[in-house]
């Protein structure tokens, strides 16, 4: 008896019933990575979920999308809850998703938040700890991969700003297992061997997972303890890695980091030129000031007629001499007059005058006799007359 063929539709319906009746398939919890995600204008979400070796179609009806906590994007690792069923028309089985959350990525993000909070509380992000970037670093240390755009941009920008710049690249892996340790070691090496004056650490953009080494604690601590100032240029403009928070300065891009680290030589030369100008102007003004004061002095009379002062002095000198002379003469005359007066007075009173008039002075033993009682009979007396003495003896006393 001939086997009767069934139609495609019947076959698909059969398979759908088979699948719908399977307990396990009614409630599956699947882990995978989203790809060719499409948000349909109807609000339904169409995407496929894949792992290294397989893919499966998925659909999330508009009704379930509101309780999503994130916007699904290709490359995102997610966990999906749904029912597997068959879309008869296309003979395709797919997951009708009811809920979806980020997988790993989610936990990675939480880990990032936790570490960030912890380090922040510890004060690793404190602005007060951040070191100043030297204005004229001699040597720029760069920690990034030796291939790729980061080092290229840094070199281009630096050499444009300062053709004689000295850049030392310390190649480090910027992604994947062990990268964090290498980066940390690199920072420590630069410090211990003092290989540069400022460090730039960075990498190109990428997913949170790609940037993960820069979110690791050992890198954060190494940056914090580095005595060399560190500029970090990791990932995207907006989302910061922990390294960015701990670094002394965060640059949005590697080129910006180079601009912050390397001064533009022309500007420096211009500054120096300006200083020289300021010196010249200041000195010129000072000299002019001094000249002015000098000239002002010169106009003073004392310089115009230097002798004038001397003449004045001479005149006063003469006057003084004259007055001295006069006063001495006067003093002399005065003294003379006084002397004469005294002499004449003396003459008048002089005993000689009285002697001339006939009086005499009687003396006994050099003492003038004034009364009879002063003498005794037979005493020898001396009588002084105007022109000599007469020696006598007392014969008689008559009161």
């Amino acid at each position: 008896m001939e086997i009767k063929p069934i139609t495609v539709c019947e076959l698909n319906k059969y398979i759908k019933n088979k699948v719908d009746s399977d307990e396990f398939l009614n409630n599956v919890y699947v882990k995978g990575e989203i790809s060719n995600f499409k948000l349909h204008y109807t609000g339904h979400m169409y995407f496929t979920l894949k792992d290294e070796s397989a893919i499966i179609k998925c659909i999330m009806f508009k009704g379930y999308t509101p309780n999503l906590t994130f916007m699904p994007k290709d490359g995102m690792k997610v966990l999906v809850l749904g029912t597997v069923s068959v879309f008869e028309r296309d003979g395709v089985y797919q997951i009708y998703c009811k809920a979806m959350k980020q997988d790993g990525m989610g936990s990675l993000y939480e880990e990032y938040q936790k570490l960030k909070a912890k380090l922040e509380k510890e004060g690793l992000f404190d602005v007060s700890h951040k070191k100043k970037i030297p204005m004229f670093p001699g040597k720029i240390g760069v920690l990034t991969s030796s291939t790729g755009a980061v080092i290229r941009d840094i070199i281009n920008v630096s050499t444009r700003r300062n053709p004689n710049v000295h850049i030392l690249l310390l190649p480090v892996p910027v992604q994947g297992e062990g990268a964090a340790e290498k980066i940390a070691q690199g920072i420590r090496k630069m410090n211990e061997e003092n290989l540069a004056d400022v460090l730039i650490i960075g990498r190109g953009g990428g997913s949170l997972e790609d940037l993960w080494p820069f979110n690791e604690e050992i890198v954060a601590r190494e940056i914090y303890n580095s005595k060399l100032p560190i500029i970090s240029a990791v990932g995207h403009e907006t989302d910061f890695t922990i390294a960015d928070f701990v670094a002394d300065l965060r640059a949005p891009t590697p080129s910006a980091a180079a601009e912050l680290a390397v001064p533009n030589i022309e500007d420096v030369k211009y500054d120096i030129y300006m200083y020289q100008n300021r010196y010249k102007v200041a000195l010129k003004r000072k000299v002019e000031l001094m000249k002015l004061r000098y000239e002002k002095c010169m106009t003073r009379r004392v310089f115009k007629e230097p002798l004038q002062k001397i003449n004045e002095r001479a005149i006063t000198l003469d006057m003084l001499v004259k007055s001295i002379k006069n006063s001495t003469i006067n003093k002399l005359n005065e003294a003379k007059a006084n002397a004469n007066k005294a002499i004449s007075k003396l003459d008048a009173l002089s005993p000689l005058k009285t002697l001339l008039r006939g009086y005499s002075i009687v003396e006994k033993d050099g003492k003038v006799v004034k009364k009879v009682e002063d003498v005794n009979i037979n005493d020898e007396l001396k009588i002084r007359v105007s022109n000599g003495n007469i020696n006598t003896k007392v014969v008689e006393k008559v009161n």
Binding site: F136, I167, L169, P171, K189, I272, Y275, K286
Partner: protein
């Protein structure tokens, strides 16, 4: 002057300019400051001239010249 770092030298240039522009310096000190400033600024220019470009990479503890690979 050698022990001054470039940054310190530039700060000194600024300091000398300010002193010279303050009017309380006598002529002799002004001249001395002027010469000091000019000498220091020439020194700075010289340092800029002498610096020479070096792009190196650390390969097992040795600094070797580093060249960017050609763009593909």
């Amino acid at each position: 002057m050698e022990e001054l770092t470039f940054e310190q030298a530039m700060q000194k240039l600024e300091a000398i300019a300010n002193e010279l522009e303050k009017d309380d310096l006598d002529l002799d000190t002004s001249v001395k400051k002027f010469e000091e400033g000019m000498k220091l600024s020439q020194k700075c220019n010289q340092i800029l001239q002498e610096a020479e470009k070096k792009i190196t990479v650390l390969v097992n503890d040795e600094e070797q010249d580093f060249t960017l690979q050609k763009e593909d």
